[in-house]
């Protein structure tokens, strides 16, 4: 296993981790969207590195697909949603220092949980899987603690990125069809959420999901 491969892999994983932690930190949605785009680039680099290392052309094509979807299309769609009034800043239920500490705890948990997995094949590639699990858990945390619809979408993207990282690092790529299916799922979910936020916005003048707790006839 060449040294450059390990370095590129670790650097991409580190960048993904950094951007995930920063999403908890930053309130302005336009910056959040930029971070998600950066994370998409890092994910594409990660997949591209794995593909280049394994001489897998299909995986290489997939890396370009991921780059296009996660670094350009999704951020573009998110930016369109986030320009609506009342969407400029996120409004976390848990304050920022607490959620950052929670992220640290989640990272520790995922390192502990994936230890048996890493022990199976202790290569550099598998060693980075805790990063993927951490991202997925942070995404779940974002889903739980953010009220705005856009932040919920960002949490959803984080979960998807985390799952993708784990999949590519442990199996050197799931079948193309499966990956395309999951990627299109996310795209579809975001399109649906975009329409949904428009509807919520039109009815309530706000996209605070706490307003949706009460049922009415």
């Amino acid at each position: 296993m060449s040294n450059q491969f390990v370095q590129a892999l670790n650097l991409a994983a580190g960048l993904i981790l950094l951007t995930a932690v920063l999403t908890l930190w930053i309130r302005r949605v336009s910056t959040l969207v930029r971070l998600i785009a950066l994370q998409g680039v890092a994910l594409a680099v990660l997949v591209g590195t794995v593909a280049w290392h394994g001489h897998d052309q299909q995986l290489g094509l997939l890396a370009f697909g991921i780059l296009a979807l996660k670094a350009f299309v999704l951020p573009y769609l998110l930016r369109r949603v986030s320009t609506q009034p009342g969407e400029a800043e996120t409004d976390p239920l848990v304050n920022v220092p607490a959620s950052l500490l929670a992220a640290a705890a989640l990272a520790a948990i995922s390192y502990a949980v994936t230890r048996p997995l890493v022990a199976l094949v202790p290569s550099a590639q598998v060693r980075a899987t805790p990063v993927g699990l951490t991202i997925a858990l942070i995404g779940l945390f974002v889903l739980l603690t953010r009220r705005r619809a856009v932040s919920q979408v960002i949490g959803f993207i984080l979960i998807d990125n985390g799952i993708a990282v784990v999949a590519f690092l442990t199996t050197s790529g799931v079948p193309l069809v499966v990956e395309l299916g999951s990627a299109l799922d996310v795209l579809l979910a975001i399109l649906v959420l975009q329409i949904l936020t428009n509807r919520i916005q039109a009815v309530f003048g706000d996209t605070d999901l706490d307003g949706l707790r009460e049922l009415r006839d």
């Binding site: 390990v6 650097l11 960048l15 950094l18 990272a107 550099a124 060693r127």
Partner: protein, 319 residues
């Protein structure tokens, strides 16, 4: 203890002490130019210092020896750190003592002494500034320790000279995820500790936003000159440490006059680069609300923590 080691140690103190006010001057000049002003020139802080050093210090009625002692201790600890940290060479006479914990403790002693002086004057602003400074210091210290601890794991030592020497010889470490996380954490910490923009505004004299300035309001003459000089030295210390950890090129790892010269030039160039980035970056950001500052520093702590974990799980055994 070789002659080279002693010369290096002395050179580092003189260099850092001389460059401190000039760096502050460069930052102010850059800011002035970006804002479309002419600026006072990069030597203005030195002119101010020389003017103040000639003036008699006046202590307010009711102050104790703490007020007089504080500038001396602050200056002493700053110069001690300037000797210890490997700025120009990793083979200085004091390299064996340049332990991470010693350096952080020395910096903290300076901070605490200055807050005591702020309290000693008994003014509202002094106390307010001291309370804010110590709040920030309490949050900064764990972040610094965690961040540099992450870098010390691959080197197997908490000695800064060993860490820097290891990073010079093994350049693959520079682009590792650990470095990536630590560089963000250390940058935030440097800004907070040196009282730079999103945390404290060094140019302000507006009572509600002052932190550092509020503590030193009662100082005058020589004492004020010492405090200002020591603050500028602390800025050099922190920026220089960050610069040498992430761009360790040029630091002398061998003895010799040429290596030393390269070390000095490289150090000044790195300082200028980091100072320029800081000076221009500061124009575009506003000061944080005081209650947002813990968020910023909590982020630095978490990044430091993640870096330690990454150093432990990702890097060890895989390289």
């Amino acid at each position: 203890m070789t002659v080279f080691g002693v010369v290096t140690a002395l050179l580092q103190v003189v260099l850092v002490a001389a460059v401190g006010p000039i760096l502050v001057g460069v930052l102010r000049q850059l800011r002035a130019r970006v804002e479309g002003r002419v600026g006072a020139g990069i030597l203005q802080p030195w002119r101010d210092l020389i003017k103040l050093l000639r003036r008699e210090p006046i202590s307010a009625a009711g102050t104790s020896w703490v007020l007089i002692l504080a500038p001396v201790v602050l200056m002493g600890t700053s110069l001690a750190v300037a000797v210890l940290v490997p700025y120009v060479s990793t083979r200085s006479a004091t390299a064996n003592s340049s332990d991470l914990f010693a350096v952080v403790a020395l910096l903290l002693v300076g901070t605490v002494v200055l807050t005591l002086a702020g309290l000693d004057t008994g003014t509202a602003f002094g106390g307010m500034g001291a309370s804010r400074e110590i709040t920030i210091a309490a949050l900064v210290e764990p972040a610094v320790l965690l961040a540099v601890f992450a870098l010390s794991l691959p080197a197997g030592s908490t000695n800064l000279a060993v860490i820097v020497a290891r990073r010079v010889s093994d350049q693959a470490q520079l682009a590792s995820p650990v470095s990536l996380l630590v560089v963000v954490a250390l940058t935030i910490v440097t800004l907070a500790e040196a009282g730079r923009l999103p945390v404290d505004n060094p140019a302000t004299h507006l009572e509600l936003t002052m932190i550092h300035e509020a503590m030193v309001l009662e100082y005058s003459g020589r004492d004020l000159a010492l405090v200002e000089w020591a603050s500028s030295i602390r800025l050099v210390i922190l920026l220089g440490l960050t610069a040498n950890l992430f761009l360790p090129w040029g630091v002398a790892t061998q003895a010799g006059a040429l290596a030393l010269l390269v070390g000095v030039v490289a150090f000044l160039a790195k300082l200028l680069l980091f100072g320029a980035v800081l000076g221009i970056g500061e124009v575009f950001i506003a000061k944080f609300r005081l209650f947002r500052v813990p968020e910023l520093l909590a982020g630095a702590v978490v990044l430091g923590f993640l870096a330690v974990m990454a150093a432990f799980f990702l890097v060890q055994g895989s390289g």
